[in-house]
């Protein structure tokens, strides 16, 4: 018995050799994938809203029109009134349709609406004419389907997270209905089968882009009532009116399929026959599935990004999603050190964002010194909103240190300990570790304690304002700078850090009210508000604007990515050149 013990060592050798075998194999494959010595692609700005290089090169659709994709999470709900997560919105965008749809250039164009609506002088009444289109069961889509869906989304009993959030203050009577008033008070009327009249609370320049959002999709009253509690519980208990129909989804499973919808009004544009989706939560597994040819497109997270930076199959897309540090000025009824403006300014300048995006993220994300993302909103002459303000802050260790010293004197302390609340994902952990190190190195006397919690817990702490600094992110709900700016109005549901500036509030109010009909002045007001928020008050510290990096097989063409609502459209996608 005893001699054998020495051979435990032998075991160790074997363990080691397994590692080595795994690594050795790795090199082999990497060598196998031919990497043409192409010049480095400009990582920062190649993205043109989904118009990626791969899709422009593609030939004619020739092979079997099947697309195999992975998704990062299950579908919590496919009811367009209840949906709130990116997975559901992404599918909704492909199996359903609203009055408008974002096209390949990410412009909202008439979809179920036959044409651009008639808009009244005062910008308050929109009259939509519907085109002849059917639900997947053959019933025609009527204006009443919209009235029903919108009223339903506002019904407190339904508990739609996006219904009141998107409609209140925009559509007339939405707030009252969401508080229990009679649904007929909602300013949405079906004048006849094919005419929908929407009355707004106030002029909303971005209203058309709202119409492409999932919450505003129609629902067939008869079908929803008939299914009752079972509505949307699986793919059979749903009706579709988009380019595809959902099949094979049992309501809790990790797999579903989208098949071409023959009833779709624009079915001739749709080339793909089938899209197979599987939920794969591990990036490494997804990558292995991609390499084995089972999947056609997978997202790459930071740790893999470096290895694939020069891979010809890499696709990078800049998203209008911004990540920033929220500075809580009042915790448990007491002022935090962050109530001091200089302390906030010091922190917002004390970390190197360029290194962060280059090394930690390494996926084409941009360092952000602003609130409203770049390449997201454009004026009528095509000027990016970003060009008005440019950079409003930036990494500057010396200046940060100056602000820091002033701030410390003002609050009469020499050492400050702050808690940094963040997500529990691996990337979040890595990023927060980086921020901690940067802040502690650049600001003498600062101690940062990291606290990583699951998303649900973070929301709760956010709501209770029980944190000092929070690493937070925001993606747009509609195509207008306002979706970012009005987050920080005094008392707004996302503020939750006791930030309050009357000038900022009044600028936002102006942009929403009196200036609504004057695009140029409205943009100026929003730009000024953004400047106050970041440059003057340093209420938040922008970190980066996210880009996503994915591997996509060369035979996949025409997947369009969108800045808000559903992430992707497969309506125009096709397979070409697959053996």
């Amino acid at each position: 018995m005893k001699n054998s013990k020495l051979f435990w060592l032998l075991g160790l050798v074997l363990v080691l050799s397994i590692f080595l075998a795994a690594c050795g194999g790795g090199e082999e494959t990497d060598g196998g994938t031919e990497t043409p010595d192409s010049s480095e692609t400009d990582t920062s700005n190649t993205d043109d809203g989904g118009d990626d290089s791969a899709s422009t090169e593609g030939g004619e659709p020739d092979a079997e029109q099947v697309l195999n994709l992975v998704e990062g999470a299950e579908i919590p709900s496919m009811d367009s009134a209840i949906a709130e997560d990116s997975v559901a919105f992404n599918i909704l965008n492909n199996v359903n349709e609203g009055l408008f749809r974002l096209n390949e250039e990410n412009i909202a164009v008439p979809a179920l609406a036959e044409s651009e609506p008639e808009i009244s002088e005062d910008g308050l009444t929109y009259t939509f004419k519907l085109r002849d289109a059917n639900w997947s069961n053959g019933t025609p889509i009527t204006a009443q389907d919209f009235v029903f869906a919108w009223q339903r989304a506002l019904d407190p009993e339904v508990g739609s997270p996006y219904g009141p959030y998107m409609m209140a203050g925009t559509i007339k009577g939405a707030k009252e209905v969401s508080e229990g008033a009679d649904p007929s008070e909602l300013g949405v009327v079906a004048e006849d089968e094919k005419t929908l009249v929407v009355t707004l609370e106030r002029p909303t320049p971005y209203f058309m882009s709202l119409m492409a959002f999932g919450t505003f999709y129609p629902q067939n009253e008869e079908f929803v009532t008939e299914k009752g509690d079972d509505y949307a519980s699986n793919s059979d208990n749903l009706l579709y009116n988009g380019p595809f129909v959902l099949t094979n989804w049992d309501g809790t499973g990790l797999t579903w399929t989208m098949e071409k919808n023959e009833e779709y009004w624009d079915a001739e544009t749709v080339t793909l026959e089938t899209i197979n989706v599987d939920v794969v939560k591990e990036t490494s597994t997804a990558l292995n599935l991609y390499q084995s040819g089972e999947k056609d497109r997978v997202g790459l997270s930071g740790e893999f990004a470096m290895q694939y930076a020069d891979d010809p199959e890499v696709v990078k897309e800049l998203e209008p999603t911004l990540f920033y540090l929220k500075f809580n000025q009042e915790r448990n009824g007491e002022e935090t050190p962050l109530a001091n403006e200089n302390i906030r300014k010091a922190i917002s300048m004390a970390f190197n964002k360029q290194d962060l995006v280059d090394v930690v993220l390494a996926n084409g994300s941009l360092p952000a010194n602003y609130l409203v993302p770049t390449e997201f909103t454009f004026s009528e002459d095509g000027e990016d909103f970003r060009e008005i303000n440019g950079d409003l802050t930036g990494f500057d260790a010396t200046k940060a240190q100056e602000f820091w010293q002033t701030g410390l004197e003002e609050i009469g302390q020499t050492e400050v300990t702050l808690e940094l609340l963040g997500g529990d994902s691996e990337l979040a952990g890595k990023m927060d570790a980086y921020l901690k190190e940067q802040l502690e190195t650049n600001l003498e006397g600062l101690t940062v304690n990291l606290k990583a919690v699951p998303f649900g817990v973070r929301l709760e702490l956010d709501e209770a304002q029980d944190y000092d600094i929070q690493n937070s992110g925001w993606g747009p709900d509609y195509q207008d700078p306002m979706t970012f700016i009005d987050l920080f109005v005094t008392g707004a549901s996302h503020n939750l850090m006791s930030y309050s500036n009357e000038e900022f509030d009044s600028l936002v109010e102006q942009a929403k009210g009196e200036l609504a009909q004057d695009p140029a002045a409205r943009w100026e007001a929003m730009a000024e508000a953004e400047r106050i928020l970041i440059e003057e008050d340093a209420a938040i510290a922008p970190i980066y604007q996210r880009a996503v990096m994915a591997l996509q097989k060369p035979y996949v063409n025409g997947i369009v990515s969108h800045p808000f609502g559903g992430d992707y459209s497969y309506k125009w996608a096709y397979i070409s050149g697959k053996e």
Partner: protein
């Protein structure tokens, strides 16, 4: 040959007398149970080797972060993702700073203009893996030892009382244990970590909250076995108190089992900590343990094997060492195994 007896020289034989005194003498030195166990353990090369190995690991865990010129959490972001490079050994073609990037082999140190040598390479934030690995070993061992010690304390007391007093006390106490073992420890651990602020303390408490039941069962069984034996009866007759009987008479007999059990608890705790890291409930960044290091690295096994290989190797060494020491102790302490 018999006929040659007479030819033997005088004095070849001494007459001895039977000495009743000497017959009782113990010719070999008297050895206590522990000396005997130690003697047997010493003969077990695997166990001794493991003890030395483990000693080395402990020394490195304490010294490693000190020897390294870099602290475990300090980041040099421009030096991120460097493979290991050790002077002298690099000439052998290993640990020479060459890694794969985009499928090609390149000397990453040259490429990034790094003058320093990172013996175990660096991670994605440019932190020195050498000091991180040893710091992580330190943390993992601390968690494991703390958890094992608490398990032992609670388990021994609980099992001892339950087994010694028996009857109704035993019945009630065993029902409680039964309930605790009925809840999957995985669930309890996860729930407790979520309730408490995540960190080393939370992990230790979560691990021990149900972990002690195993120890208590073993101790109870042993106490039940010994308490009805004659030497206990003798002690009781001589008027020893319950406390004295438990501590002076029962415990030394149960100790072997306790030690063996603890030896197997420690690797279990280290493993569980690694598992917690995988499901995202491990230590808080930037702290490192072997579990978090392996979890950070296993995805990159095809590209940057050093990030996982070294902590996994250390983990394997610890696991093997503990299992061998445990086996050795079992052989040494279990008289049945006497050879």
């Amino acid at each position: 040959m018999t006929q040659n007896y007479d030819n033997l020289p005088q004095g070849s034989f001494d007459r001895i007398t039977r000495d009743t005194e000497k017959a009782e003498r113990i010719s070999k030195p008297s050895v206590s149970f522990w000396q005997d166990a130690w003697r047997r353990l010493k003969k077990n090369k695997g166990a001794i080797f493991s003890l030395i190995l483990f000693g080395l690991i402990v020394i490195m865990a304490l010294l490693g972060p000190v020897i390294s010129p870099y602290s475990p959490n300090s980041q040099t972001i421009t030096h991120a993702n460097l493979p290991p490079k050790i002077p002298v050994i690099e000439n052998l073609g290993i640990f020479d700073g060459v890694g794969t990037l985009g499928g090609k082999e390149v000397d990453l140190y040259e490429m990034k203009n790094v003058e320093q040598n990172y013996w175990f390479g660096t991670d994605g934030l440019g932190r020195d893996m050498f000091s991180r690995v040893w710091k992580g070993t330190q943390v993992s061992l601390f968690i494991a030892f703390a958890a094992a010690a608490i398990d032992m304390l609670i388990g021994v007391i609980y099992g001892g009382i339950s087994g010694y007093f028996g009857g109704r006390v035993d019945d009630i106490m065993q029902r409680i244990v039964e309930i605790l073992t009925g809840i999957p420890n995985l669930v309890v651990v996860i729930l407790f970590i979520m309730i408490m602020d995540p960190g080393i303390l939370a992990i230790i408490i979560a691990l021990t909250i149900t972990g002690w039941t195993g120890m208590s069962r073993v101790v109870r069984g042993q106490v039940l076995k010994y308490k009805s034996q004659e030497f206990v009866l003798a002690a009781r007759t001589l008027g020893a108190t319950d406390g004295r009987i438990i501590w002076k008479h029962l415990m030394p007999n149960v100790l072997g089992v306790i030690i063996i059990n603890t030896m197997f608890t420690i690797p279990g705790a280290i493993f569980f900590e690694a598992f917690l890291s995988f499901i995202g409930l491990g230590l808080q960044a930037p702290d490192a343990s072997l579990g978090t290091l392996i979890n950070d690295g296993y995805k990159l096994i095809q590209y940057q094997p050093h990030i996982i290989a070294i902590p996994a190797f250390v983990l394997s060494l610890i696991m093997i060492a503990f299992n061998l020491i445990g086996d050795g102790l079992r052989d040494a302490l279990d008289p049945k195994m006497k050879d």
